[in-house]
């Protein structure tokens, strides 16, 4: 049987909670004995996904963000769910440098970083219902 371990947190859509979210996942991830680089990669990806939920999903409105992390053997799967406004065109949103908020100097690199730092990134979104981001990363594949 595969050994699995799961954690789930829910928090307000608030810029103060972006740091909390990434540090929580990083702490949970230590069980897989990751390198510092792997921890940094996962933290960045979580930060990008949660920032998207706060800034784009809820866009100043109140709401909850649900974050689940599952460790299964040497892989972490992180799911971040918001019930915000959703994304009209996911493919367009994932294009590097595409941003709907250039006036606030958002770089349009969020999804690009998630894809660069994680092995798999899957985005499901429905306008008016919210967005779910599922990211996977295998830990320790660079070690022997």
């Amino acid at each position: 049987m595969k050994s699995t371990n799961k954690m789930k947190i829910e928090f307000d859509s608030n810029t103060n909670n972006i740091g909390f979210a990434r540090v929580s996942v990083a702490a949970f991830l230590t069980q897989l004995n990751p390198t510092l680089e792997e921890v940094a990669d996962v933290k960045t990806a979580v930060s990008e996904a949660v920032t998207n939920a706060v800034i784009h999903g809820y866009d100043k409105l109140a709401g909850y963000i649900e974050l689940t992390s599952v460790l299964e053997e040497d892989t972490i799967t992180i799911t971040i769910v918001d019930k915000g406004k959703g994304i009209e065109d996911v493919n367009k949103a994932m294009e590097p440098l595409f941003t709907t908020k250039s006036e606030n100097e958002h770089s349009g690199m969020g999804f690009m970083f998630m894809q660069a730092f994680m092995d798999e990134v899957d985005v499901k979104s429905l306008v008016g219902e919210g967005t779910t981001v599922i990211m996977k990363k295998r830990i320790g594949c660079e070690r022997i």
């Binding site: 740091g19 960045t44 930060s47 920032t51 100097e105 958002h106 770089s107 690199m109 969020g110 690009m112």
Partner: protein
């Protein structure tokens, strides 16, 4: 003036926080722009000495200041950059626009 912002001649030295993300991006952006409006700034030096984390919001802040300083023919540089931050600067492509860990043309090692 915020003590993390030091102006000397035409240089503005910005001491960045431990985490450069969405939470404190606006503050750095606003303070930098306020100083640039009032002073004749030609060089912005971002000091990453205390910074261990930066995401794409942080890249946005640096990119925005770069655009502003280019309008007056100035430059942006980043110093005390560690390997995690360097990875972000490289992936974003911003390393081609600003000098990283260079002092007077000499390259400093990445921490």
């Amino acid at each position: 003036m915020d003590q993390n912002f030091i102006v000397k001649g035409t240089c503005m030295f910005v001491k960045l926080p431990e985490d450069l993300d969405c939470k404190n991006a606006a503050k750095i952006r606003n303070e930098s722009d306020k100083i640039m409006e009032n002073e004749n700034i030609k060089n912005i030096i971002f000091d990453f000495k205390n910074t261990n984390f930066m995401d794409s919001t942080g890249i946005g802040v640096i990119m925005g200041r770069y655009k502003n300083i280019k309008l007056v023919g100035g430059n942006v540089s980043a110093v005390n950059v560690n390997s995690t931050i360097e990875k972000m600067l490289t992936l974003s492509g911003i390393h081609k626009l600003i000098s990283i860990n260079e002092v007077s043309g000499l390259k400093m090692p990445v921490k």
